[in-house]
Amino acid sequence: MLSKETKLDMYWTMLLSRRLDERAWVLHRQGRIAFHISGIGQEAAQVGAVFALRRGYDWFLPYYRDIALMLALGYTPRDFALSMMGKSEDITSAGRQMPSHWSLRSANVPSQSATVATQTSHAAGIGLAIKLRGEDKVVLTCIGEGSTSQGEWYEGVNWAAIHRLPVIFLVQNNQYAISERVERQMAVPGPAAKACGLGLDGREVDGTDIFQVYEVIAEVAEKARRGEGPSLIEAKLYRITPHSSDDDDRTYRSREEVEAHKKRDPLLIAQAILEKEGVLTPKKLEELEAKAKRIVDEAVAYAEQAPYPVVDDNVTRVFAGEVSHA
């Protein structure tokens, strides 16, 4: 059973992610950042999954919408703000990568590219290494439902299934791949249905309910640790925002559809649950909101005054081992 503190912590992480994410949209509208891609509506799946695993021990291969997942792993709003602005202190890449291309060595998050599905076979490879070394770590990798159309995805999952590797494939099914609905991606109802053809456990979960996600991930993680192999979890949710700051979603979906889904906002759902359980009071909520605002304000202010990278030897270095990274 989750303690009150943990539940509150989970809620807080979602809230912080939401406020940071919203701020990014504002910064983009103000022309202060070049690009933003959002996790709004997907926070429950991401935070629920992380809390079911062991931070600093298990491995994570997220995808670009995993802001909340990264915050749950210790990545900070300041880190994100620095990355959005391409500043030198960006800890993921020193300003080389676009924002939301995560990397966090301290939390066992390898660097990610933009090319969808490439992380899937990496997750399998990490799972294989864990198994070869006889350890009990678990790997979680996330992806959008559209990206499961890639042959890459299939090959990675297949490896994990054959070798019964400790990998959890979490598909965040937000029903769109940019403009394309899931019916243009697959002839089955959803990604979970793909599991039967690959020979692993496949399940659907309501991705707007953080506690349901937590339960499912905790259960399959335990299975993975026991050597019972990988699982494919489809978290059903909805992409409330346009695909990215470059997108205009009015060309392909109605406002009514989006509004209807806003009623299933995972943040509001968690809030309602916690209020009912008496964990969250109006006063506490106000406090948390104020704290989130302060943290986000500070993060943005810090990043804005932080220096850009300078063009030095480091920028031309493409191989490890030429210098010692002591």
């Binding site: 690009f35 080389r96 493409v318």
Partner: protein
């Protein structure tokens, strides 16, 4: 003549060819209702319907593979790869299949497919939305590789590509999509695949470029002209098969060659141009063959000063050409 942007010219070429030939169809990610993430196919879904403007699954390999299959059957697919950066999953199909079908079947089968992809940096796209990939494909016999630098050529070359019985890689300088404007005739015309074009004559130094870099090379030539240096600018346009004649004639005139591309230096397209010049224009040369290219790092960095450092621009081109002219 109406003026239009590069991307409008590209859209018009597809529109006209779809109207002309019912075998032409478009397949790619978000090309339908969305009209493509850069809006290249805007309006075509509404005009030609979902059976001719097909939203593909998010899987480039099969966008191309399905295109090849349809082409074998006699269709004329235009496959859109959303960003050139995402063409690698389809590499096997393009290099191993499309490029070889004609040759391996001794001419019995052809693959009339056009693979369009926006390429290039300078748009804050970082490593995975900025890449130049032309060199990989220009190395492959059996592929034609085309990169237009202006609306007139873009329209005329794309129409030629769609009618070509061979696979054509059509890379579009996305930074120029809305930036580069130019006149495009109302009446029908084609620009042949093959010939390069001398877009500015000069006697002091030849600058070879294509796409966005050609646009910049013309600007550099303007700057140099004010200093009394007359640069000749050659728009390579068709990278494969390469137009050796135009390259060699230009070097014969100027004795000096600068090749510019935003792809990284080593084994970038400039290597081939330099090698051709070093072999066939050796006695015409009176200076080393110079290449100005993106640095040899694995992609264009995102951060403004790093991106600036990576990308060639008119100033850098002018500097390199000036140095060469004074050699």
């Amino acid at each position: 003549m109406p003026e239009m942007t590069l991307i409008e010219a590209i859209r018009q070429a597809m529109d006209e060819e779809m109207a002309r030939d019912p075998n032409v169809f478009i397949v790619g990610e978000d090309v339908g209702k969305r009209g493509g993430v850069f809006r290249a196919t805007m309006g075509l879904y509404e005009k030609y319907g979902e059976s001719r403007v097909i939203d593909a699954p998010l899987a480039e390999l099969s966008i191309v593979g399905v295109g090849i299959g349809a082409a074998l059957y006699g269709m004329r697919p235009i496959c859109e790869i959303q960003f050139a950066d995402y063409i690698f999953p389809a590499f096997n199909q393009i290099v191993g299949e499309a490029a070889r079908m004609y040759y391996r079947s001794n001419g019995e089968w052809t693959v009339p497919v056009v693979i369009r992809a926006p390429y290039g940096g300078g748009i804050s796209g970082g490593l995975y939305h900025s890449q130049s990939v032309e060199a990989f494909f220009a190395h492959v016999p059996g592929l034609k590789v085309v990169i237009p630098s202006n609306p007139y050529d873009a329209k005329g070359l794309l129409k030629s590509a769609i009618r070509d019985p061979n696979p054509v890689m059509f890379f579009e300088p996305k930074k120029g999509y809305r930036l580069i404007r130019g006149e495009v005739p109302e009446e029908e015309y084609l620009v042949p695949i093959g010939p390069a074009k001398i877009s500015r004559f000069g006697r002091d130094v030849s600058i070879f470029a294509y796409g966005m870099m050609h646009y910049y090379a013309l600007q550099a030539a303007e700057m140099l002209a004010q200093e009394g240096i007359e640069a000749e600018v050659v728009d390579l346009r068709t990278l494969a098969p390469v137009d050796k004649t135009t390259i060699l004639e230009s070097v014969k005139r100027t004795g000096k060659a600068l090749i510019v591309h935003e792809d990284n230096l080593t084994l970038g397209y400039g290597a081939e141009v330099a090698a051709i010049i070093a072999e066939y224009a050796f006695t015409d040369l009176d200076a080393p063959v110079r290449r100005l290219a993106g640095p040899d790092v694995p992609g264009v960095p995102f951060s403004p000063p790093l991106q600036e450092w990576f990308m060639p621009n008119p100033e850098k081109i002018a500097n390199a050409a000036r140095e060469l002219a004074r050699f």
